[in-house]
Amino acid sequence: MSDTPSGDTVLEVRDLHTHFFLRRGVVKAVDGVSFSLKRGEVLGLVGESGCGKSLTALSLMRLLPKGGARTIKGEVLLGGENLLERTPAEMRAIRGRRLSMVLQDPQTSLNPVFTVGDQLREAIERRRKGASLAEIMKEAVAALRRVEIAAPEQRIGQYPHQMSGGMKQRVVGAIAISGEPEVLIADEPTTALDVTIQLQYLKLLKRLQAENGMAILFITHDFGVVGRMCDRVAVMYAGRIVECGPVKQIFEAPSHPYTRALIASVPKMTGTVGRLTTIEGQPPSLMDLPKGCRFASRCGLVEQRCLDAYPATVQVGEAHTADCWKVSPS
């Protein structure tokens, strides 16, 4: 990856490594990930389930799951400062206010025993220190209205179980952006939703993004969604980003054989929402990665050098890169 940081780069991730250190071995779930995000940009992070997308996101948030996960190498530069060097207290000040996240499953993302208003209030309070409860609740109502929830005055007093999945996910969205973050990570925010609700949610996310100019790291396993959401896309495979570039270029001329397979497996790009059908074969075990190209075991173009060494990153076009021996530079 050779993204040069420019003035409007808000987030830059360099050579990020997050591994699980287990008794039976080391799971290299994130193993050298680099990308950057400009102000107001939507970057898609696409890849099959288990390739390390969520763990990349949680590494940025510094909220790794319990049980041996550690970020051992790399930099996460938010506005130039390395988050990996921040203290826990400094990270808490950053979370929600500068860097925020929407989780995958709306059914479990909200605390079942507190009202929606209470959970929104906690987030808004951080930005409005010293404001009266009435003021904050007014803002909470406005926040719900902004995510297109009807009758927000009533909803504010309700518990999560009284809402539909789509509505809950919009509440989670409202909570996540209530601190007006510079960067929002959306980790498969629509995977758990019905198809029609998915589209509504994506539109909403687009609109919110346009309104306050935040950058979004949009994680999905669904290439169909990428076309409608993202400006650029990074394709992840077995812990690494194998291709990255503008959405249009990647759709029109994908370079990496894995990207091509992914795009081919989307039923129809003009259709509503495509589902990723499986590509033949299995990705390699993250505990026992090959020394050469990680896609080699499933690639039709594989040759000896692919097995011998990991391919160098090739500049395919302007701001378009791919890690593949068979791709020639532009």
Binding site: M61, L63, K66, R92, A93, I94, R95, G96, R97, S100, M101, L103, Q104, D105, T108, S109, L110, N111, P112, V113, F114, E122, A123, R126, Y159, H161, V172, I175, A176, G179
Partner: protein, 305 residues
């Protein structure tokens, strides 16, 4: 909610009927109480009088109908030893037991819940193991042994606290510790396992994403959810205290319904024992209904039909 309560009440009445029937049958099965109660040299006339007084004349069906009829009117017989209606004796003593229960519960929770949270936060560390050991000790220690130990140390040796009978606040200390110790372990264990489960939730992750402090995340978001299973223990614990107070109240000569049960057995006060069992059952049913209603209140997801 009203319908739920009505249904539960009806279930309670049915259960009570079963309990009363069992008590009635057991009373007849375990031999003639008259023989047990009278001295060896009692006259035939004494026997006949007592048999009549206990409603033990007539066929079994007749006896049951009389027993049930009287029970419905709140008459569960007369205590032989105290020569008073058994119901009245029970309700005279009940407040003394009820005076202990909240404190024992409070002690159990005040120690058990924070211990459980700490154990969960430091899962697998020495703190977790230490808390677990305390918990096991609390359960393994028999109440009579702990009670006697406490009396020995604090009443006999140090002379700080009274060892028996009701009285000022100082009289409560040792019985409450004895009762509460047993509960610490239960509260600790359920809090620990509930916390461990809740801490893995996605909503806890979202709470952290919001940038909330660890204190808020653990003691508000996690604990409030973990308290739901803790609350279900209340019903069990209060029931345990109502029945389990027998040993503690006996050790401390505490004039509650636990000691009353003991006395009824020791003095072969057959009608009193019958009444105590039935009234305790009513109490336990009531407590459990109350806890279930509270449960529905704490967990908003439960909307009772």
């Amino acid at each position: 909610m009203k319908r739920y309560i009505a249904r539960r009440l009806m279930q309670g009445v049915a259960l009570l009927f079963v309990v009363a029937t069992i008590v009635f049958i057991l009373g007849r099965l375990t031999g003639n109480p008259v023989d047990l109660m009278l001295p060896e040299d009692a006259t035939a006339e004494d026997r006949a009088n007592l048999t009549r007084a206990l409603d033990l004349d007539g066929t079994l069906t007749d006896q049951f109908l009389i027993f049930a009829g009287k029970a419905l009117h709140g008459d569960l017989g007369t205590s032989i030893r105290m020569k008073q209606p058994a119901v009245q004796v029970f309700f005279d003593r009940l407040p003394n037991t009820l005076a202990l229960i909240p404190w024992a519960l409070l002690l159990g929770m005040a120690l058990g819940i924070p211990l459980g949270v700490v154990a969960a936060l430091h899962r697998g560390s020495w703190l977790d193991r230490a808390a677990g050991t305390v918990a096991v000790l609390g359960i393994a220690m028999p109440s009579f042994w702990l009670g006697i130990l406490l009396i020995f140390v604090f009443s006999v040796e140090l002379g700080w606290l009274p060892s028996s009978r009701m009285g000022g606040p100082e009289h409560y200390v040792l019985p409450v510790i004895t009762l509460g110790t047993f509960l610490v372990a239960g509260f600790m264990r359920i809090t620990r396992s509930a916390m461990l489960e809740v801490m893995e939730s996605e909503f806890v992750k979202l709470a952290r994403i919001k940038g909330l402090s660890e204190t808020t995340v653990i003691w508000k978001h996690c604990l409030r959810n973990a308290l739901i299973p803790v609350l279900t223990l209340w019903g069990v614990f209060v029931s345990n205290l109502i029945t389990g107070a027998i040993v503690t109240e006996t050790v401390f000569a505490w004039p509650g319904i636990g000691r009353l049960t003991y006395e009824a057995v020791i003095f072969r006060d057959f009608p009193l024992l019958q009444a105590v069992i039935i009234l305790k059952s009513i109490l336990i049913l009531g407590v459990n209904l109350g806890v279930d209603i509270l449960y529905a209140y704490v967990d908003p997801r439960i909307r009772l039909p």
